[in-house]
């Protein structure tokens, strides 16, 4: 094993790097009521810079939070995602907890280990891949599961897993079966884990076959949960509400049926969001009096209309 990243001593970061990290650290600190809570995202941030929890990174966290380096190290060594040696550009993790192991995870790990010539928690000579046996990653319905930089590669076989590591070794992009459009590097991923968005949230779908298995069956069979009476809250989608309330004329002279239209919601049900629709005659709910008018970004008409 070699270090793909230059080893830094306790001298800390060059000034321009430190300045950038300090700005990030301020953003992280602002998320928490107490500064110490920022330690875990700060350690992810350090890994986004150095590819592991470097001595310089430990010193940085300690200085930002005003705690000792020993305190920082004690936390960093507790969690398996914080690396004590330079990590490969891609962590390839094969789940070998019971269910995935039984379904083929053990065999997949063995084949990858042979191909890469490394064992658990070791890194290829070129620094491309760190191989890990990982614990259950909450995707058991897709067993056997492999994670590459913590993106899902579901329903793996030795062949499919080998194809992924071969692509990485050849410097090609790899795409998870559920997740972003491509797997980003360990450092890029670590920056996301530090809480900085990378603009990839909309990539990929809602879920794979197993995620949708029950929903798809329910759709086929026409099974639904008991319907919700949306008008309870003083508003619902127009069609559903009309269906429930009926279409007969309502209201007498002087009642709220005489109310002059004042907003788009009074005349055109499609123009505003469902919640803001005047509720057709239904039992008035106690929220009617509590709802302030004009609050939020849309007019709250329901409070006056409900009383009919």
């Amino acid at each position: 094993m070699s270090s793909p990243t230059t080893h830094r001593g306790f001298d800390g970061y060059p000034p321009e790097v430190r300045e950038r990290l300090d700005a990030d650290a301020q953003e992280i600190l602002a998320r928490y009521p107490e500064p110490r809570s920022a330690l875990m995202p700060l350690l992810h941030l350090v890994q986004s810079e150095d590819g592991y929890v470097s001595p310089a990174g430990i010193a940085f966290c300690a200085e930002v939070l005003g705690i000792s380096r020993a305190n920082v190290s004690a936390v960093a060594t507790f969690y398996s995602q914080y690396k004590r040696r330079p990590n490969g550009d891609y962590t390839v993790g094969v789940c070998t907890n019971t269910l995935c192991a039984v379904m083929g995870g053990d065999a997949i790990f063995e084949r990858l280990s042979q191909r890469l010539g490394i064992h658990h928690d070791e890194t290829t000579e070129g620094g491309e891949i760190t191989l890990e046996r990982i614990e259950c990653n909450a995707a058991c319905d897709y067993a056997p599961v492999m994670m590459v930089n913590w993106e899902f590669f579901d329903n793996q076989t030795p062949e499919s897993a080998l194809a992924v590591v071969d692509a990485i070794l050849e410097g090609r992009d790899v795409t998870p079966t559920r997740g972003a459009g491509k797997v980003v590097t360990f450092k890029e991923m670590s920056r996301v884990l530090a809480g900085f968005e990378d603009g990839r949230a909309d990539e990929g779908g809602a879920g794979g076959d197993a995620t949708m298995a029950g929903l798809r069956l329910a759709r086929e069979k026409g099974w639904t949960a008991p319907p919700i009476d949306g008008s309870r809250l003083g508003g619902d989608a127009p069609e559903a509400a009309v269906e429930q309330a009926g279409t007969e004329p309502v209201g007498d002279v002087g009642s709220s049926a005489e109310h002059e239209p004042t907003t788009a919601a009074d005349t055109d049900a499609e123009k505003t969001e469902a919640i803001d629709q005047p509720a057709p005659a239904q039992e008035p709910s106690d929220d009617a009096t509590a709802a302030p008018s004009g609050a939020g970004e849309a007019p709250e008409q329901a409070s006056e209309e409900d009383e009919s």
């Binding site: 269910l99 039984v102 058991c140 909309d202 798809r216 099974w223």
Partner: protein, 440 residues
Amino acid sequence: MSERAMLGPVLSDIWDAEKPWTLATYTQHHGYEAWRHAIHQEPASLVDVVKNSGLRGRGGAGFPTGLKWSFLPPPDGGPRYLVVNADESEPGTCKDIPLMMANPHALVEGMAITSFAIGANHAFIYLRGEVVHVYRRLLAAVREAREAGLLGTNIMGTGYDLQITVHAGAGAYICGEETALLDSLEGRRGQPRLKPPFPAVAGLYARPTVVNNVESVASVPGIIRGGEDWFASMGTEKSKGHGFFSLSGHVARPGQYEAPLGITLRELLDLAGGIRDGHQLKFWTPGGSSTPIFTAEHLDVPLDFDSVAAAGSMLGTRALQIFDETVSVVRAVTRWLDFYSHESCGKCTPCREGTYWLREVLHRLEAGQGREGDVDLLLDIADNIEGRSFCALGDAAATPVKSGIKHFREEFEQGMHTPAWELFPYEANALFTELAGAAR
């Protein structure tokens, strides 16, 4: 509909819509209607609705959610917190991660309502760090909700403020234990705290805190919108409402099946196409590896909190790991103990040392090198962990050992002379080995 509806998608109901993780799609499907209503209610009335709905915690223990909220002491002017446990790491459990991937706004809306109900102005999602795309979706959902004025300061002109922080862990099963989670969120090693005081009294930063599971909190908007009676119309007398049943392992169509509580494994297997072709059910977990295993005898146990407990296990997280007759129980239990031993935080002796020795003994049984009396030794060690460890991890580690021996003692006895892989060839377990074999 002539057939009884076996499934009832509620949280999963928008998963097949266009980009269901976006605010636009969520809003088109009644998203944030409950929050827009709730913010004008008396907080105490929201606690009552959830209490009356019968919602019980979906993270495994099944404690009534509304009751947990009501344990917070009266406001004293200082901060109070909501922390969502999104550390889903229990072997077999795979419901919260797909939920947050597909529909993170259900969680965010539930957090807004819950925070308002308990008087919190800052709420946290503690997400395990090993699911980067789910983290992206949560960060985006919170940002979208804030930009739409659904979170932030003076929300909808009411004067109520709420900040949500999405926090990524870094790989530690123990952080699913609520007090270890709080220590971790405070920037420390994730080790459990002595209880009492409970988090309701002294939680995050020693302030009153509610810690709830993702699915529990995500179920709150539906309860507010549909009402307590709507929620209680699903499920059983003491286990009301809907929940995800996550089938994995040797079933034809593994996956997420959202159904009223009280459905049976027989019914679920029927929906999932049964055990894989040509095989039979051998053993299964009703709610993850920390719940005592069941066998084919238990196919008709209603999967609700009380029925599963009465049958000798726990509903847990409804993580149904299915193993067919090709699988060695000794191999399965040994691997689970590798896990518990690895994840034991080291704080208390019974768990730290006990899981180590269970693992040692199990490994020699798996290799067919067990010694006379090893099976009783396992039971003795398990008994010395159970009830004597600091947190539930120790009890959880004892569970598969004890229930495995209870149902399959002869397999453990065979470990005195024959390796598990000779009794149950491991190639027969894997899906692809079988396929490759059939193709040859």
